[in-house]
């Protein structure tokens, strides 16, 4: 199978066959099903799925092939040269009719109360292929579990999924997708024959981060979710194409909306093979619910006598005009700073930048509110690594895939699934190299877990192993060696905890790869030493010629991080962007650039007096809560724009309600640099406004227009986007200095703050469905670590760092195998980032059991 598919992709050879009298030439290995589709013949099927291996279970896709006496299932029959296929002969029609008849005998036909009605494959195919009467004269099989019995025999098998086994036609798509595409095993088929039932694994529930897809691919109403059930009929909704606002890769989605209620009812996939293969993470699928949330900020708020009170837009803007005006007049624009979310669209980001740089004449802006201690230089190794080109589609064309410093299931769902696909379908070899064990490793050939904080040493180890084994060009090796050989390979093994063999294995994998994908993720990007690690990566790239035969990049995390970078939203934009901005505006502030860190520092020194946050929540996300809150509390005048009340809006003098991405048209640039448009689904709820409108309104208070019109704004953006924003790597190998690892025995456990697999950032906790999966913070520990401190799953643990202390329940991980702690940052109820220190390379904590 895999070979056949590979051939299909590489298109090495073709065959010509005849389908319904039409000749067609297709790549060798193509099934009759897909060959027919290429000439517009859609063969009906229940169990076939474009992204799964064929099973031939439903038998609906029969075709008749000359010289073959029996009907053949087209999904599993490879088209061959000279084959003559008939997809609509008398025999085929009768065969399909029989299948529909068999399928319906135990199907309840409860279409009037079934949510799938109107978009049900069985309904459609029964109308087009079935009998209009039934020959089955017996009672239908019915699954009822008395103690769990609910209306219409429904069974809840997961936080979101409701199963009706009577409707199930056993196409096994859910079980197969779970296994083949997601690597999850929480749903299965049990019993056999006509008693076969799909169900959650005994004692478990279907709660994997991709579980929503099972509902979407169900051809009947057997799997439904509480998100959509009994709320609306599908034909009463309209669809709008959009982009996921929670992922860096810009998953393509479809909104289902209803105009009279101005309500979004659900999100489904809009399959884009180059990005998402039609699979949505649950965050993407259920995250939209924040749009409809009752707890959204409805009107502007202004602080009066220490309390925030409702105000009109005009009142709020007047307050902003007064205070910002005062600050600007008295202290200068350099005393105004701003932080914006990289999940906002291009227009909003660009308007924000233009507001600050042309009206306030300030260079104090940033979009990276959750990265500690960012350097104020434009071409640091990290910035270079983050600007490198990357193609998601190329992952499945790679024969070697290395994931370094990234916990993909918490950061990049699409890439996580693409890697699984590359390994399961195209025989790629994956390696997972991380400071803690991650889920990706279950398909990796080798998993390498190194000591936290030794990232660059691992890279150096790979380079040294390659030099030692003479796997790389000798002149390059001679140049690099003196720069990194302060530590011998054996010392590196001691420091990193990896063996020499492992360095060798990675070196061999990289050097022997024909096409390689080298993914670097958030663990590196969030590290205090991101530049050092990326310098080591620069060396590795040069030594092995990684980019000559593939790709190496630090993936950007948010929906429009790439756009923010390209539009110059950091205090220190790329030189080329800066020059272009100067050209467009005819001016550019020459004051000192200040990124997030230095802005917060300056707040404390009362040198930044006015501050605007847009769609971001530094109080929660900045990896040092003490530092961030001290800064923000010092600000004289804080304006916070957000969809919801957050820790930051609570401090604000003016709060402005922000639109969600579903409420206006916006362009987003995904981590590949691809511009995609998210269309407006509904009118802005309450009094919310899009960020670009707000920026324009603030500018208008100074009597200035940011843009003549929408078109001129778009032209300016277009001009910036046309620039080549890939920064060149340094010409020479870089020296990597080595700092001795300091271990603090009083805080022995390395801590990682990241996203819960069902949440992203600070907004998704407003989605009721996502809360059903995970609703509060926990500390994820390995079995061994939990045993060491003597806690069982769910028991409270005190987590103490030198600066903070929280108590959260323990969650025993199925993946972790070393002494680390992982805590999600997504829940307002726990001040996770209060444990972090902004100048610390590895956050470490002390864990103790909380006695009752």
């Amino acid at each position: 199978m895999a070979e056949a598919v590979k051939e299909k992709i590489l298109a090495v050879a073709t065959i010509t066959c005849t389908i319904d009298g039409q000749q067609i030439t297709v790549p060798k290995g193509t099934s009759v099903f897909y060959a027919a589709r290429q000439i517009g013949i859609v063969i009906p099927a229940f169990c076939n799925h474009d992204k799964l291996k064929p099973v031939g279970a439903c038998r609906m896709c029969y075709v008749e092939i000359e010289k073959m006496p029996k009907l053949q299932v087209s999904c599993a029959t490879t088209a061959t040269d000279g084959m003559v296929v008939s997809t609509n002969s008398q025999q085929v029609r009768e065969g399909r009719k029989a299948v529909i008849e068999f399928t319906l005998i135990n199907h309840p036909l409860d279409c009037p109360t079934c949510d799938k009605g109107g978009e049900c494959d069985l309904q459609d195919l029964t109308f087009s292929h079935g009998y209009d009467d039934s020959r089955f004269g017996f009672n239908k099989m019915r699954f009822i579990e008395e103690e769990k019995r609910d209306t219409f025999d429904d069974l809840k098998i997961g936080p979101e999924i409701v199963l009706n086994r009577n409707r199930c036609i056993l196409c096994y798509k859910c079980v197969r997708a779970n296994k083949e595409a997601f690597g999850e095993y929480d749903i299965g088929a049990f019993e056999r024959g006509d008693l076969t039932e799909i169900n959650a694994t005994p004692g478990g529930e279907v709660s994997n981060p991709f579980s929503g897809n099972l509902v979407e691919i169900c051809p009947v109403g057997a799997l439904t979710n509480s998100d959509w059930r009994y709320k609306i009929r599908v034909w009463l909704t309209k669809t709008v194409p959009s982009i996921c606002n929670f992922s860096g890769s810009g998953t393509n989605i479809t909104f289902y909306k209803e105009d009279h209620k101005n309500f979004v009812y659900r999100v489904t996939a809009r399959c884009n093979d180059a990005i998402d293969d039609g699979w949505l993470s649950d965050i993407t699928r259920y995250g939209y619910q924040i749009v409809n949330s009752e707890s959204r900020l409805k009107t502007p708020l202004i602080k009066k006598g220490g309390k925030q009170v409702k105000a009109s837009w005009d009142q709020a803007l007047a307050v902003i005009k007064k205070h910002m005006g005062e600050i600007k007049d008295q202290s200068g624009g350099v005393c105004i700073g701003g932080l914006i979310s990289p999940s906002l669209d291009n227009a909003s980001l660009y308007s924000f930048s233009k507001l600050f740089r042309t009206i306030f004449k300030s260079n104090n802006i940033d979009f990276r509110g959750d990265y500690r201690y960012l350097p104020s230089v434009t071409d640091s190794p990290f910035t270079i690594a983050a600007s490198q080109p990357f193609s998601i589609a190329d992952i499945e064309k790679s024969d070697v895939i290395i994931t370094f410093g990234t916990d993909l299931i918490r950061e990049h769902h699409n890439e996580y699934l693409k890697i699984r696909r590359a390994v399961n379908f195209f025989e790629a070899t994956a390696y997972s190299v991380n400071p803690y064990a991650v889920k990706t490793a279950d398909i990796a050939k080798s998993e390498m877990v190194y000591s936290p904080g030794t990232d660059e040493l691992v890279i150096n180890g790979i380079c040294l192993a390659a030099i030692e084994k003479k796997l790389v060009d000798s002149s390059a090796a001679a140049k690099l060696k003196p720069k990194i050989s302060k530590l011998s390979l054996s010392e590196l093994t001691k420091q990193t905890g990896l063996g020499k063999e492992q360095f060798k294995e990675l070196a061999e994998a990289i050097s022997s790869a024909k096409k390689i994908t080298f993914i670097v993720g958030e663990i590196v990007a969030r590290s205090l030493e991101r530049d050092k690690i990326c310098a080591a990566l620069s060396n590795l790239n040069k030594l092995f010629g990684v980019q000559d035969k593939g790709q190496l990049a630090v993936l950007s995390r948010y929906a429009n991080s790439k756009g923010a970078q390209k539009l110059g939203l950091s205090a220190t934009p790329y030189e080329i962007v800066k020059a272009e901005l100067k050209k467009i505006w005819g001016e550019y502030p020459d004051c000192q650039p200040r990124n997030t860190d230095s802005m917060i520092n300056l707040m404390k020194k009362e040198e930044i007096k006015g501050f605007i946050t847009v769609g971001t929540n530094p109080m929660r996300l900045y990896p040092d809560r003490g530092f961030a809150s001290e800064g923000l509390e010092h600000v004289d005048f804080l304006v916070a724009c957000d969809m919801f009340e957050t820790e930051t809006t609570e401090l604000a003098d003016v709060v402005l309600p922000l639109c969600s991405w579903a409420e206006y048209d916006g362009d987003y640039i995904n981590l590949e640099g691809k511009v995609q448009t998210g269309k407006q689904a509904i009118k802005p709820k309450y009094e919310a406004k899009a960020a670009f409108e707000i920026m324009e309104l603030i500018a208008s208070q100074s009597g200035v227009k940011l843009f003549e019109n929408e078109q001129s704004r778009n032209e300016e953006i277009e001009q910036l986007l046309s620039l080549n924003s890939v920064l060149p790597w340094p010409d020479d190998f870089l020296e990597i200095d080595y700092d001795k690892k300091s271990s603090r025995d009083d805080y022995p456990v390395p801590l990682f703050i990241c996203d819960d697999p069902h949440h992203s950032g600070h907004l998704t906790e407003k989605s009721p469905s996502l809360l059903n999966f995970s609703d509060s913070a926990y500390v994820e520990l390995s079995k061994g670590m939990a045993a060491k401190i003597g806690v069982a799953d769910g028991e409270p643990v005190r987590v103490e760092s030198p600066v903070g202390k929280i108590v959260v329940p323990a969650k025993i991980s199925r993946v972790l195998n070393s002494d680390v702690a992982i805590i999600p940052r997504n829940f307002s109820s726990t001040q996770t980032t209060s444990l972090l220190m902004r100048k610390k390379r590895v956050d470490s904590v002390k864990l103790t059991r909380v006695e009752e």
Binding site: T78, V99, F102, F138, G193, D194
Partner: protein, 444 residues
């Protein structure tokens, strides 16, 4: 010491017979021990193969012998082995299908319990022929005695260097794993068996890819029946020409038949292919006639998944071609004899209940169809049959036959179709008179 399964065999008649060989030693109480097996020339073929033959030569020899799969399909064994891609970098697996679960068939069990080493030796030779270094013996879970004896024999073989690393100094390594089933007929189907070893549900897989190309863990895999593999050492020892000299032109060699039902002397008998079914049933050395002196009504020649034969066809030679010509199949050799007091409807009801219970549930026609068939046949048996029921049965059987992933669907409907054809009046009688045509009383 008694044998585990007290089954009648024709071992005594075979003793000294220059052709029959599979059952030669099955009445020897110590044959299951390595010592006795070696005394009888055991592992000589394995030594010959490892010492003197190239894998291709082994395949060629087996091809030449005309040995065909004894599990039911009758596919030429040597040809199957040659389908393993020579240049594949993947590991290969040999699986011995010892999940003997076809009702009416109990021949493999005798071999495994009484002559387990010959099975292991045959597996080893097959493994060598396809370049496999890890072979599995998948034994039906209910066969506790077979499991015990094969495991014991395997341990003995390991301890004396017939299995393991560097066997006989040849440099060839071969490991063996005994894997037991968990009670599913489906796992005797080769792809179901592969799924089961992988830890999946016992369900058939679509072909292509055939297991020889992509089987166990997507690696080239050969699945052979116990009896086929047990014949291989004899072929190596005595040569392909000797094997070919038995049986008919297209069905060479000998075959084990399990005789059961209304028969005076049920048992397992080894005969040359082409042997007369009439003789097997009536000869005193074999079945010794129909029980209670009754008349023959029907014969199921190859396990319950093969169509019923009418008495006028009983002189058919037992070989692949002749039985096909007679409208049935050689199958796995489970010959079930039914006498005149048997109700056809009742018999078919028993069969369809079995197939419904064992249908794996993967493909629609078999999953839904077997249940529907059972309900209609039960209705007829209960005297509630309607005038259009037989037509409905014809139609449903036609909608299942040849439309399923694996042969289970065919197996379920072919016996029904054959009885609807040959005993239609009896079905009709049942519907019209709400009772059996015959006076059935078996006491079971």
């Amino acid at each position: 010491m008694t044998f585990y399964s007290p089954v009648v065999t024709n071992a005594k008649e075979i003793a000294g017979h220059e052709k029959l060989h599979l059952f030669e030693y099955v009445e020897d109480e110590k044959q299951y021990q390595l010592k006795r097996y070696l005394e009888h020339g055991g592992y000589a073929a394995w030594k010959t193969v490892l010492g003197k033959m190239k894998p291709e030569e082994v395949i060629e020899e087996v091809k030449k012998s005309g040995l065909r799969g004894r599990g039911g399909a009758g596919f030429p064994t040597g040809m199957k082995w040659s389908f393993v891609p020579k240049d594949s970098p993947k590991v290969r697996y040999l699986l011995c299908n010892a999940d003997e679960s076809e009702p009416g068939t109990c021949k493999d069990r005798v071999l495994m319990e009484r002559d387990p080493h010959v099975v292991i030796e045959g597996m080893a030779i097959g493994a060598y022929a396809i370049g496999c270094h890890l072979m599995f013996c998948y034994i039906r879970g209910e066969f506790h005695h077979s499991i015990e004896r094969i495991e014991k024999a395997m341990e003995e073989a390991y301890s004396k260097g017939h299995l393991g690393k560097n066997i006989y100094g040849s440099g060839y390594d071969l490991e063996m794993i005994v894997h037991t089933g968990a009670g599913a007929y489906m796992c005797g189907e080769e792809t179901g068996l592969i799924n089961s070893i992988e830890g999946e549900k016992g369900m058939a897989r679509i072909r292509p890819p055939f297991p020889a190309i992509e089987g166990l863990w997507e690696c080239p895999t050969i699945v052979n029946n116990v009896e086929s593999l047990a014949a291989v050492p004899h072929i190596i020892n005595r040569g392909a020409d000797w094997y070919r000299s038995m049986g008919t032109e297209k069905s060479a060699g000998t075959k084990l038949f399990s005789l059961s039902g209304h028969i005076n002397r049920p048992g397992n008998y080894e005969v040359e292919l082409g042997f007369s079914l009439q003789k097997l049933i009536y000869d005193a050395n074999y079945g010794n006639g129909i029980s209670d002196g009754k008349k023959l009504k029907a014969v199921i020649p190859g396990g319950v998944s093969t169509p019923f034969l009418t008495p006028d066809k009983v002189d058919v030679p037992l070989d692949y071609e002749s039985l096909t010509e007679a409208g049935s199949m050689l199958g796995s050799g489970g010959v079930i004899v039914l006498h005149e007091d048997t109700c056809i409807v009742w018999t078919i009801l028993k069969l369809i209940k079995f197939f419904r219970h064992e249908s794996c549930g993967k493909c629609t026609p078999c999953r839904e169809g077997t249940g529907w068939l059972e309900q209609i046949i039960q209705k007829i048996e209960d005297g509630r049959g309607g005038p259009d029921d037989l037509e409905k049965l014809d139609s449903i059987c036609g909608n299942i036959l040849g439309r399923t992933i694996c042969p289970l669907g065919d197996a379920a409907v072919m016996p029904i179709q054959s009885t609807l054809k040959h005993w239609r009046d009896e079905w009709q009688y049942h519907i019209e008179h709400k009772k059996c045509l015959v006076n059935q009383n078996f006491g079971f």
